[in-house]
C-alpha cells in the first residue's frame, strides 16, 4: 500500500505545483510510429467555404465542424444547450450566445455571448448580456452586422427585445424593445430587420444608438400562412428570401425601407397547382426544422419538401427542391433515401448540401447532382450552418 500512496502523493504534488506551466510541444511524429510520443494540441484553420457547423441537438452540448469535402470532423465549438452560434464574417471568431445556470438546472442565470478564437477554439472572453430567448433550432435569434462589429441577440422574457452587443469593445450596448416581432434579418448600413406577428417587417435603424423602429405594410399572414424562420439572406444582393408554410416565396430588398416582392408559389414553379391552407388538400409542402438553404452565388434555394396536408410544416423532407429564385423555376428535384430534418448548403463554387435527421445521421450531397459524398454517423441532430462565403 505504501508505494501506491507515495505515487499518489507525488502525483498530487506535481499537479499542484506545475500544471499551469505544462507545455505539450507539437511533434511531427508519425502517428503510427513506435517512438515515445508527447501529447499536443491541434490548431485549425479559419473557416473554409466547405465547412459545416452542426449543433449536437436537443439536450446535448457542442457544435461540430465538418469539412464537407472530406466528411471529417475538424473540431467542436463549445456551445451549451439552447445556445446560438454566429461566425465572425472575417473568420477570426466564433460567437456563442448562451444561457448558463450556476448550478446546472438551478442557481443564478448567466446570459452571455462567449467568444472563441477560430484557430485554437479557445475561449477568449464572455460578454454579459441581460437576457435571451430559450429555444432550439433557430439561426435568426443571433445575427451579426455585415462588418462583424455588432451582434444582435433576440430576447423573449416573455417581452420581445433585441440585445445589441459591441463585438469590438466586447460589451453589451443596449436592449431594444421590439414588441410582436422576431426572426432577425441582416440589414447592412441600416441595422437589422425582423418579421412581425401583424404581417409586417420591422426595421430597426441605428440599433447601436437611437434605435428607430419602422414597419413595412403588412405583407404576409403571420398566423394563417407563416414565413418559416431559418430563412435565407443573400449578402451580395442584400436580399432576404422568405418561404411560407404553403410555399409562397417572397424576396425583400433590404434597406431603410425594405422593398418586398409580390409572392409566387413554389409549387407552381414546379408545375403543380399552388398549395393551399385548406384541410383535405394533399400536395407537396415545405417543412422540417430547417427547411431551406440558399446558395448565394447561384441564387438557388434548396427546400425540404414532403407530401401532406396543411399544418404539416414540421414534417421531415423526402425531396429537395432546388428553386432558381430569380427565374421562379424549380430546376432540380433530389429524392432522399431518408427523411431529413435540416438542410444547409456551402457557399463555395461547387456547393455541397449537408442534411441530418433527429437520429444525428449526417449526409453530404453534391448540390448540383445530388450525388452522395459522405455519410457521417452521429454527426449531430441540430441546426446546421455553413461557413460564410469568405
Amino acid at each position: 500500500m505504501k508505494s501506491f500512496s507515495i505515487w499518489q502523493r507525488g502525483m498530487v504534488a506535481a499537479l499542484a505545483v506545475g500544471v499551469a506551466a505544462i507545455g505539450f510541444p507539437a511533434q511531427a511524429t508519425d502517428p503510427h510510429g513506435l517512438e515515445p510520443e508527447e501529447s499536443d494540441i491541434v490548431t485549425i484553420e479559419t473557416p473554409k467555404p466547405d465547412w459545416f457547423y452542426v449543433r449536437a441537438g436537443w439536450g446535448i452540448d457542442g457544435t461540430a465542424i465538418y469539412d464537407g469535402r472530406s466528411g471529417k470532423m475538424i473540431g467542436i465549438v463549445n456551445s451549451s444547450q439552447l445556445s446560438d452560434m454566429a461566425i465572425d464574417p472575417a473568420g477570426r471568431f466564433y460567437y456563442v450566445s448562451e444561457s448558463i445556470w450556476s448550478k446546472g438546472n438551478r442557481g443564478a442565470r448567466q446570459d452571455m455571448v462567449t467568444v472563441y478564437d477560430s484557430k485554437t477554439l479557445k475561449l477568449l472572453t464572455e460578454i454579459t448580456i441581460p437576457d435571451r430567448i430559450l429555444v432550439d433550432e433557430r439561426k435568426q435569434n443571433f445575427i451579426l452586422s455585415d462588418d462583424g462589429k455588432w451582434g444582435y441577440v433576440y430576447s423573449f422574457s416573455p417581452a420581445s427585445a433585441v440585445n445589441v452587443v459591441d463585438l469590438t469593445k466586447r460589451k453589451f450596448v443596449q436592449a431594444i424593445e421590439l414588441p410582436g416581432c422576431a426572426a432577425l434579418i441582416p440589414n447592412p448600413g441600416v441595422g437589422f430587420s425582423a418579421l412581425c406577428s401583424d404581417g409586417t417587417m420591422a426595421t430597426v435603424a441605428a440599433p447601436t444608438g437611437k434605435a428607430e423602429i419602422t414597419h413595412s405594410a403588412p405583407f404576409f399572414a403571420a398566423s394563417d400562412d407563416p414565413i418559416f424562420e431559418n430563412f435565407a439572406y443573400d449578402p451580395a444582393k442584400n436580399m432576404a428570401v422568405f418561404l411560407t408554410y404553403t410555399g409562397l416565396v417572397y424576396t425583400a430588398k433590404m434597406g431603410a425601407a425594405p422593398t418586398i416582392s409580390q409572392p409566387y408559389s413554389l409549387q407552381e414553379a414546379a408545375g403543380y397547382a399552388p398549395a393551399t391552407t385548406k384541410p383535405l388538400s394533399v400536395g407537396w409542402y415545405p417543412g422540417s426544422r430547417q427547411p431551406t438553404a440558399y446558395h448565394a452565388a447561384s441564387g438557388e434555394l434548396f427546400i425540404l419538401m414532403h407530401m401532406g396536408e396543411y399544418w404539416s410544416h414540421k414534417a421531415f423532407g423526402d425531396e429537395i427542391w432546388v428553386l432558381d429564385v430569380a427565374s421562379r423555376k424549380v430546376v432540380r428535384r433530389i429524392a432522399l433515401k431518408e427523411p431529413a430534418a435540416h438542410i444547409e448548403v456551402s457557399q463555395g463554387a461547387d456547393p455541397l448540401i449537408f442534411l441530418n435527421d433527429e437520429k444525428s445521421a449526417g449526409l453530404i450531397l453534391d448540390a448540383k447532382t445530388g450525388e452522395e459524398k459522405h455519410r457521417i454517423e452521429m454527426a449531430g441532430a441540430g441546426v446546421i450552418s455553413a461557413a460564410p462565403g469568405l
Binding site: V135, Y154, P158, S223, D224, Y310, S312
Partner: protein, 181 residues
C-alpha cells in the same frame, strides 16, 4: 369561421377572467395574460385575406380527423393538437398536473383543438412543467395552427418556463381553458 376566431376568444376570456377575484387573483391575472395571448396581435392581413383557412369542424385538420379522447398518454389525444414535447401524463404527472418536484409555468402557448366526442373546439393551454431534466417519455410534436416565434403564443418550440424557479424544461401539459365557441 367563428369557432376559431382567436380574437373573439381572447376578448371573451379576458372579460371572463377579469371577473375572477379571491385568492386566485394572481392566477387570474396571469391567466388573463395567457388567454389574452391568442387575442393579440390583431391580424389585419389574415383577417382581410380571402384565403383565410377554413377551420370549421366540417373541414378538420388531419390531426383532428384522427384524434381520440380516451388515452391522454398517446400523441393523438385530442387536446394535443399543437403540443411539442414530452407528455406529463407519461412522466408521473397528468393532463393538467406537473410531475412531483416540477412546477407549471404560469404562461404558455395555446392551441385550439376539436374534441371528437362533441365536435366542439376548445382552447388548450400547453403549460410546460419546469425544473426537472427532460422526461424522455411520449415525445409528441403536433402542429395544428402552430406558428413561428414572431407569434410566440402560438409557437410550441419556445421553452415556456417563465416565472418558475428553474427554467429547465421537463414536460408539457394540456390544460383545458374553456370552450372556443
Amino acid at each position: 369561421m367563428k369557432i376559431f376566431d382567436t380574437d373573439a376568444i381572447g376578448e371573451k376570456w379576458l372579460r371572463k377572467l377579469a371577473g375572477h377575484t379571491s385568492r386566485r387573483s394572481m392566477v387570474s391575472r396571469l391567466g388573463l395574460a395567457l388567454v389574452a395571448a391568442p387575442a393579440f396581435p390583431l391580424l389585419p392581413v389574415s383577417r382581410a385575406e380571402a384565403a383565410k383557412p377554413d377551420r370549421s369542424p366540417e373541414a378538420k385538420t388531419a390531426f383532428a380527423r384522427n384524434a381520440q379522447s380516451s388515452d391522454d398518454t398517446e400523441c393523438n389525444y385530442w387536446r394535443y393538437c399543437a403540443i411539442d414535447g414530452a407528455l406529463c401524463s407519461c412522466c408521473g404527472g397528468g393532463i393538467h398536473s406537473c410531475p412531483a418536484g416540477s412546477e407549471p409555468s404560469p404562461v404558455s402557448w395555446v392551441g385550439t383543438c376539436i374534441n371528437p366526442d362533441n365536435g366542439k373546439a376548445y382552447l388548450i393551454a400547453y403549460r410546460d412543467c419546469c425544473g426537472k431534466p427532460t422526461c424522455n417519455q411520449c415525445f409528441c410534436d403536433n402542429t395544428d395552427r402552430q406558428t413561428q416565434i414572431y407569434t410566440p403564443q402560438l409557437n410550441n418550440d419556445i421553452i415556456w418556463c417563465f416565472g418558475t424557479q428553474s427554467m429547465q424544461y421537463h414536460c408539457s401539459t394540456a390544460v383545458l381553458v374553456g370552450g372556443a365557441e
